[in-house]
Each structure stands twice: as structure tokens, then as C-alpha cells.
């Protein structure tokens, strides 16, 4: 059981990174980005390329990977989101499907289908309370928690955070107070891309990068957002951990002492989670009240 909890912590940290950034974007823009999984992979693959092919130091490769993620996100926002979301907030849903195909094709063309690990062979584990965990995984989990803490500080204790929350609550009211909402939209989308890139680096260090991961990552992030209450960043982060725990328990526990659910269904748990929440709690666990005049 301890091992399942540790696995959930590791998988949940990855999902929380991605879902956190995405929840911020959804809260502000109200648009779905279905190319999120591909943006995650781009961060991971670029870091792999800088570290394994160009042979830059790891820290420089990670910074390089994050910078490329930021540039790609900015490009995606300007071309695939910005010209469309003000016409109709559902248009980016279709344009980002197109974007996901283009990015999928580019990833396959440049990095091929074979799995890529940023740090191959760093899997030495040690035992803590009966659970096996590697030092790298501990660093990854702690890094995620630090990123979340910084995000919490910025959002809740700085003037910039207050502006962000104001735009999340009511775009036009915030603009009437002199907040440059369009600039914030752009900035937050780029930040969500950087968070996604960080998630890709996490994935490339903890596991392997393969193009098939893209879509399940996107859907899992949306499961967390929907379950957490659309636009509620902390709800999304909590639910990312919750979904990871449910995934681990679903396939790791002998149900009623009779059977195990096959491991092939593990990814399906997040999907069933979405279906369940949308049906019985369409506004999610932590739905925030929107202000209206």
C-alpha cells in the first residue's frame, strides 16, 4: 500500500504541474487546449535533444527546454488561439486539435517513435517505509512542490497575483480597473506552456518520452480540471493527485479479495473519473463562484 501511495505521489506531481498551468489558462480564457500533451512532450524532447545530442550540461538543457516550450506556447497562442477565441470560445477547441496533429507529426519526424529518456540508467532506488523510490524521483516531487509553493505565493501575495485573480474572476471588470487583460492572457498561456514543458522534462527524467503519451496526458489534465472545478487551480492540483491515487489503487489492489483490474485499464481510470464527475458533479469538487453584476 505504501508503494501505491508513493507511486501516486510521483504520478500526481507530474499531473499537477500540467493541470495547474492549464487550470489557470482555462480560468482566464475559458478555452480548451487539446494540444497540451504535445506541448508537454516538446519540453521533454527538446531537453533530451539538448542534453543527449548537443551534450549541454543538464541544468542548461532544462533551461533551454523550458525556453523552447515558452517560445512554442507563444507561437501557438498567437496563431492558434488569439485569432479565434474572441470570435467564439469553442473555436480553439478545433484549432488546437489541428495543432495537436501538426505537433504530433513534427515530434514523429524529428524524434521518431522510439522511447527517449533524458537520464537513462538513473533508476537506483532505496526503501522508505517499505516503498521503493529513487533519489531522482524525490527531487522531482520536491521540485513540483516548490513550484506549487512559488505559484501560491505569486498568486496570493503579490500585486501581479491579484491582477491574475481579478482577470480570472471578471475579465472586463479587471480591464476597467486598468489591468491589461490581453497581455495577461498571453503571459498566462506562455506560463502554462512552461509548466507543460516542465511536466515533459519530469516525464523524460522519471520515465521515457514517446509520442503516444500526448493524448492521455491531455485528457488526464482535463480530468483534473473538471473534477477540481473548471478554472480552480488548487482544485485541479488536488484532483491531479487524487486521480493518480485512484489510478494506482484501481490496478494495484485486489478487489473484494477476488481479482485485479488489468494494468491496461489504468489510463481508463482518469477517463471514467471525467465521466463520473461530469455526470454527477458537473461543476467539480471545488467549483468557484463567479461574480456577476
Amino acid at each position: 500500500m505504501t508503494q501505491l501511495l508513493v507511486n501516486a505521489l510521483i504520478a500526481g506531481s507530474l499531473a499537477a504541474l500540467i493541470a495547474g498551468g492549464l487550470a489557470l489558462v482555462y480560468g482566464v480564457l475559458g478555452v480548451f487546449n487539446l494540444a497540451l500533451g504535445q506541448m508537454v512532450l516538446i519540453g521533454g524532447y527538446c531537453t533530451w535533444w539538448l542534453y543527449q545530442v548537443v551534450h549541454l550540461p543538464l541544468a542548461v538543457s532544462i533551461i533551454g527546454g523550458l525556453c523552447i516550450s515558452a517560445v512554442v506556447s507563444w507561437f501557438c497562442f498567437e496563431v492558434f488561439i488569439n485569432p479565434f477565441y474572441k470570435r467564439h470560445r469553442f473555436l480553439p477547441l478545433v484549432t488546437t486539435i489541428a495543432l495537436s496533429m501538426i505537433l504530433d507529426g513534427l515530434i514523429l519526424l524529428f524524434f521518431k517513435e522510439t522511447p527517449k529518456a533524458i537520464l537513462p540508467g538513473v533508476k537506483n532506488t532505496f526503501e522508505v517505509l517499505g516503498a521503493h523510490i529513487s533519489p531522482v524521483q524525490i527531487i522531482l516531487v520536491l521540485t513540483t512542490l516548490c513550484v506549487m509553493a512559488v505559484l501560491a505565493y505569486v498568486l496570493h501575495s503579490t500585486a501581479f497575483g491579484r491582477k491574475v485573480r481579478a482577470v480570472v474572476q471578471h475579465d472586463h471588470a479587471a480591464m476597467s480597473l486598468g489591468i491589461r487583460a490581453p497581455l495577461l492572457h498571453r503571459f498566462l498561456f506562455i506560463m502554462s506552456g512552461v509548466f507543460a514543458g516542465l511536466g515533459g522534462i519530469y516525464l523524460g527524467i522519471d520515465q521515457n518520452l514517446t509520442p503516444v503519451f500526448a493524448f492521455p496526458i491531455t485528457i488526464k489534465a482535463y480530468a483534473a480540471i473538471i473534477a477540481g472545478g473548471k478554472g480552480n487551480i488548487w482544485g485541479a492540483i488536488i484532483c491531479a493527485y487524487l486521480i493518480a491515487l485512484v489510478e494506482q489503487l484501481a490496478v494495484g489492489v485486489q478487489w473484494f479479495g477476488l481479482f485485479y483490474i488489468p494494468a491496461g485499464y489504468q489510463q481508463t481510470v482518469a477517463l471514467v473519473f471525467i465521466i463520473f464527475f461530469l455526470l454527477f458533479r458537473p461543476h467539480g469538487l471545488f467549483a468557484s463562484r463567479s461574480r456577476s453584476a
Partner: protein
């Protein structure tokens, strides 16, 4: 000649489902992104019944039953959810169907697919396949032209334009959308009934997410809601997709190039139709 017939047959396989999806998504603006999930479930119901019993009638019955049940459930879900929530949930439903297909090895043979699908006694040559599938396509075009021009088409237009105003005119969203879902389900049966018999195999790769993107691309490129636009873009895009097989590129390059090309086509189509794909509601 055989290649031209093959392209015609593949386009004919798409026509019914394109028309059904065009009615629901293109014209009704219902965010149903799980059409390929229903397609997969129906295809497996038909093929498994056909392989195990050898009876075309039973296979057709199983396909229709699966289509009606799946469509009714999806219609019910659409009434409970907001449009974007329903869109994401239908993607989830599609992926759940795929997960079941890939993991229920004893029934579906998982990633290997179902080979050796028997053909009906009269479907033994490519010419017969071309003739029968063209007849089905023409029948479906006629049926949908009639439906779209009639009261049902006007009701679904009114609901897409302004649901409250449509309700005030006595149009029931539940009734109209329910039948649009059922029509899409039945169209799915018409699309996939002959497909595994023609290919002699049913493979899960045919129901991955790119298949849905291809379907959406056909609708958007052909002008959402337009019957003849949908038919024309089906033929053009199927011709392009099948024609790409002859481009002298390695398969490891051709696959990604195809993804990029179709992604660009979808993006350009959305850009061109950005004002009509999801039009703003009229206000007084």
C-alpha cells in the same frame, strides 16, 4: 482502375457517417467528439457477430442495437452537460471504448484486430463492393437531403441558432437532438457494415483519434451543415489521403507528413470558416 474503385469504396464508407455527423455537429452545433468511439463499438459488434455466426442479418441487428444504445446514452449525456464538458466527455468515452477494445483480448483480439472477416455471399469482387457501397451512399444522400430540407432540418437549425427562442416556438431540444444522435448511430452502421468485409480485417488503429480528426476535417472543409459540401470534401480528402500512398517517401516520414498536412488543412479550413463554424447568437 482497381485503385479508382478502391478510392470510391473508401469514400463511400465515409459518406453515411459524414452526413450523420454533419447533421449533429455541422448543423446542430452539438459538441460530439466521440463519433469514432461509437463507430468502433458498432464495427466490433457487427464483426464479432459476423465472424461468430456468419449471418449478415444478425450482424446488422447487433450493429443497429449497439448504435441505438450508444447513441441514446450519448444523447442523454448531452442533455445533462454544458457543451464543452460534453465535448471532453465524448473524447473520454471514445478513449474508454478503445481501451476496452485493446484490453479485452478474448473478445476483440486486442491490438491484433480481427482477421479473416467473412464476406457476404454476393460481395465477392471489388466491382460489387463499389456498386453496393455507392448505392448505400446515394440512398443516404437522398435521405439526408430530405431530412435537412424538411421540418427536422429547420428545427435543428433553430436550436443551433438560439435554443431558448426555438423552445418558445415549441421545438423540443431533447426530441430533436435525440433523433439526430440516433440518425448518426444508424449512419455509422451503414458506414461500417461492409468495411471489415472489404478489408477482410477489423483493426483498432482505424479508430484512433486521427480518424476523428479526419472526420471533423471533412465537415469543416466542406462547410459545416452543407450536405453537398460534405460529400465533395469526403471525396477530395479521401482521394488525397489514399493518393499520398504513392508519394515516394519512407513510411516513417510519410506518416508524420500526412499528420502535418491534415493538421494544416484542418487549421486552414477553420480559419476560412471562423465566422460560420460557431456563429454568434443573434440578439435583439
Amino acid at each position: 482502375m482497381d485503385y479508382a474503385l478502391h478510392t470510391l469504396i473508401v469514400a463511400n464508407f465515409f459518406i453515411p457517417v459524414v452526413l450523420g455527423y454533419n447533421l449533429l455537429f455541422g448543423r446542430g452545433k452539438v459538441f460530439h467528439f466521440g463519433a469514432v468511439g461509437t463507430w468502433a463499438a458498432v464495427a466490433y459488434a457487427i464483426t464479432i457477430t459476423l465472424v461468430s455466426t456468419g449471418s449478415g442479418f444478425l450482424a446488422l441487428g447487433a450493429g443497429l442495437a449497439m448504435a441505438i444504445v450508444a447513441s441514446a446514452v450519448l444523447a442523454w449525456l448531452s442533455f445533462r452537460l454544458e457543451p464543452d464538458g460534453f465535448g471532453v466527455m465524448t473524447i473520454a468515452v471514445h478513449l474508454v471504448v478503445l481501451a476496452v477494445i485493446l484490453n479485452w483480448n478474448s473478445l476483440t483480439r486486442g491490438a491484433l484486430g480481427i482477421p479473416g472477416v467473412p464476406q457476404l455471399s454476393f460481395m465477392k469482387s471489388i466491382e460489387v463492393f463499389a456498386l453496393v457501397t455507392t448505392m448505400v451512399s446515394l440512398l443516404w444522400i437522398g435521405l439526408f437531403a430530405w431530412i435537412q430540407r424538411g421540418a427536422f432540418g429547420r428545427k435543428i437549425d433553430a436550436l443551433a441558432e438560439h435554443e431558448w427562442h426555438a423552445k418558445s416556438l415549441g421545438i423540443s431540444r431533447i426530441r430533436v437532438h435525440f433523433w439526430a444522435f440516433i440518425l448518426l448511430g444508424i449512419s455509422t452502421v451503414a458506414s461500417v457494415f461492409f468495411q471489415p468485409q472489404y478489408l477482410r480485417i477489423l483493426h483498432p488503429n482505424d479508430f484512433q483519434f486521427p480518424s476523428f480528426v479526419f472526420l471533423m476535417m471533412i465537415i469543416v472543409a466542406g462547410k459545416p451543415g452543407s450536405l453537398w459540401g460534405g460529400v465533395l470534401s469526403t471525396f477530395l480528402l479521401v482521394f488525397l489521403r489514399e493518393g499520398l500512398r504513392f508519394v515516394p517517401l519512407a513510411p516513417s516520414v510519410l506518416g508524420p507528413v500526412r499528420l502535418i498536412l491534415f493538421g494544416l488543412i484542418l487549421f486552414i479550413a477553420v480559419y476560412v470558416r471562423r465566422d460560420t463554424l460557431f456563429p454568434k447568437q443573434r440578439s435583439i
